[in-house]
Symmetry: C2
Subunit: 490 residues, 2 copies
């Protein structure tokens, strides 16, 4: 790295102290509501000025992990309690965190993942909170046949370990497939097989992101990714995504100002919005990445779930600089029970990823890779995908019919599993969720997807998990529930 | 945590700087042989005394990640090159690192895992470097039948995600099994399913270990565990293991002096030695763990692979304080292709582990869990295990016959997959390995298992991977090769 950026990287003392305290907090050295060492005490211990510790503590408050009580000191925020409040008792909705005497409610409430998981766990007949595909839409019997076939082909399969990087036959097949489908030149050595996209994101975060590193992230975005980067202590810088894609001036200005290490993006049928970043922006983004030395982490989970036409080529296809890491997961629509994902990038990054994977779990189970390989290359999968696209498009249209009459606003997605919709004026998503759960309807409230915790009048409705009848009935009920809310307000 | 230990935790300034630089090194900010910022430069930047930076750099040198050139400055150690030298060209053997102008060859050469994997990758007809079970000793056809049965039972299995904590039916079964087998009281909520033991170790390291934290580790020990803890920047403190177990005075004195966060142990048919820590020590270790607030991470991969009699109860069975984390993996002898491991511990630790797992991969694939569940509870497995124990004992005895006549020293293991043997005087394990590979024989040299890099006249011979004929022939050849070495020296 060239000298100028090195200089910029050298952190001030208060940041080192911030990082150090952050680590101790994460290691659970203190319980919720425990008092941290006083500023005076820590300054004495570390032989630094009190103002330096003060600045470090201020930064800790900004992360939401610590709160301040006037004249009394600094205390550990009760994350667990807060989550449970948000989830099991949604009554206080967006103001749930006000029950803590803290300023931790602001931009970076740290773990959305639990609220996410907990909402999904609430039993609901009308299940619109899970961006998963109804298992009856998957060809289970055929899959079962394929599994048997795989065992005939590899009789000692269960007795064999996979290599760390992943089954070579699978990597060869996928690199050829990427070439045919997207014109991407790729060798099997430039690919790693992981257990799902999330493991890939986590590996990359572990390798690349440290405390206070700037990370660009879409707004709104997939909530678990925020959690992963936050768990590394990253500062999340939101990049707005709309139906037109990004504002490239905003992207450039953020890259210029904050020198982010990476930009985590989901540019094709994005989760939660369903938006797709246009081709012309993709080319320019790769150039920006090169100019500002910022890796683009392209999460491409919904490429094969398109409705009218195939989406534009991935950013990775334009990357001649080795600045894009391409995460392509298949689990959702091939077989969620398998958890197979491919990560492609150039040397030397791929080597570091393989090393990281070797420490993390020493390789994805071979069984899952071989089953995936054989099913994915079968004609049956192409038939299945064709049918699945039509089924999901019908699902989407059923949901849209219900919303259309009721004054909800949304951009019709051209692929993916979700509708991102704005509620009629005056309705808060958390209030609606609370009432909806009472009627056995669940969905995801907007703020969970926002690094800034806003989008309070937005919902993500997943139309993929219930059958058509339940979907029509449930969205109808939800829409009428929202109407009654509107009437009460008016 | 009580005030005194908090005070002890407050690190001096040079340690904060050490941690900060370590992170930047790990993030790849510099390439091998790049020069780090000069002491003067960094001291100026950070507004600290030059001596403080000097101490931080000295610590970096001790990790082996940085080397010093006289009068010229501090440079990044070429880990990759070093590994490749060690592995693909074993000619310079133990002195391989001397080709780098560095002092990085000492105690903490950081990544053994690659040398480990690379030795295993060397094609060898007489394959004694892999502690894996010969796939033909596994009941592959029956396994294949069980898989089909599982698909009949759960026709939508492939379309379903697992929960983060692991399949409830599997956790219920295992907690009952642990109760029956070892008298351990455990609920399904106190267990997490991971993808192999290594993922469990990695999750725990991520949760519990930060830079410069002290970690107790057996000497010798399982090499990959060292790499995982080192990747977190831990200081490894070796605890000697012999055929009598540990020296409890040594353990207590280390706990007292260094306040380690955890002790990673493999007390039953240990890898690589095969030694088993006696019952009386197990009880006392749990008390020491409580007294010194040091978690015991008990890796119990070989419990079911015993020869004459069942091993003593795990430490976890004596733990009434919640100070033991019990890692029980089954992959090796049930089905390596599955990668299933159970981690058991008490609240609140188990909750943190589940949260960490949710970020890492959001759950082990359900397919693997259900197959394991049904196979593990079948009468077939018990038959298989009985046969496997006999087969492995015969393997062990075949290897021992060959060693006995040749003056090698070892303690006959009562279980597990390995013989840990001392070579006749004057023979270096690395020299022997180099010659052995020329004869298509591979084994693991002792230094790879040693946090201090010694054990230069020891070998780990895995007797489990080849069939009886190949084993007898190969160990015979190895022994004769060593004899010729001895003759040349004498």
């Amino acid at each position: 790295m060239e000298p100028p950026s090195r200089t910029e990287h050298n952190p001030p003392l208060y940041q080192l102290i911030f990082e150090h305290m952050l680590k101790r907090l994460e290691q659970g050295e203190w319980q919720a509501h425990d008092k941290l060492p006083s500023i005076r005490h820590l300054a004495l211990e570390l032989e630094v000025h009190r103002l330096t510790v003060f600045r470090a503590y201020k930064m800790l408050c900004e992360t939401g992990k610590v709160y301040v009580k006037d004249k009394s000191g600094y205390y550990v925020s009760p994350l667990k309690d807060e989550l449970q409040l948000t989830v099991t008792n949604l009554s206080s909705s967006t103001s749930s965190s006000s029950s803590n005497s803290s300023n931790s409610s602001s931009s970076s409430n740290s773990s959305n993942s639990s609220s996410f998981a907990d909402i999904q766990r609430i039993p609901a007949h009308f299940q619109f909170s899970q961006a998963l595909i109804d298992p009856s839409l998957l060809p289970n019997l055929y899959l079962s046949d394929y599994v048997k076939k795989v065992f005939d082909l590899y009789p000692k399969l269960m007795g064999t370990y996979a290599t760390v990087q992943g089954d070579e036959e699978l990597r060869e097949m996928l690199s050829q497939h990427f070439h045919e489908q997207m014109g991407i030149q790729l060798t099997a050595e430039e690919m790693l097989i992981t257990s799902g996209a999330q493991q890939a994101i986590h590996l990359l975060a572990e390798m690349l992101v440290g405390p206070m590193d700037a990370v660009l992230i879409e707004r709104p975005t997939y909530s678990i990714a925020m959690d992963v980067f936050r768990s590394r202590g990253a500062r999340l810088l939101p990049v707005d995504i709309t139906e037109e894609g990004y504002d490239l001036e905003q992207v450039e200005s953020l890259m210029h100002k904050y020198k982010p290490r990476l930009f985590y993006m989901n540019p094709t049928h994005q989760n939660p919005t369903g938006y797709t970043v246009p081709s012309w922006q993709r080319k320019q983004l790769v150039e920006l990445a090169e100019r500002y030395n910022c890796l683009l982490i392209e999460d491409d989970a919904f490429r094969d779930i398109y409705f009218a036409e195939e989406p534009p080529l991935p950013l990775f296809a334009y990357d001649t600089f080795g600045k894009v890491v391409y995460i392509r997961s298949f689990s959702k629509y091939v077989a969620p029970g398998l958890r197979i994902c491919a990560v492609a990038c150039r040397k030397p990054l791929i080597d570091s990823l393989v090393s990281a994977k070797s420490l993390v779990d020493n390789g994805t189970p071979l069984l899952n890779q071989k089953i995936f390989l054989h099913y994915y290359t079968s004609p049956r999968l192409q038939q299945h995908l064709g049918k699945l696209r039509i089924a999901l498009q019908i699902h989407k249209e059923i949901a849209e019919e219900q919303l259309a009459a009721a004054g909800w606003q949304w951009t019709s997605p051209q692929g993916g599993l979700n509708l991102w919709a704005k509620l009629p004026d005056g309705i808060k998503t958390q209030d609606l969720l609370q009432a909806a759960i009472g009627q056995s309807i669940s969905f995801m409230p907007g703020p969970l997807f926002d690094p800034l915790g806003k989008f309070e009048s937005w919902v993500r409705l997943s139309y993929s998990f219930t059958n058509e009848t339940v979907l029509r009935e449930g969205v109808g009920r939800l829409v009428r529930l929202a109407e009654r809310f509107g009437d009460e307000k008016g």
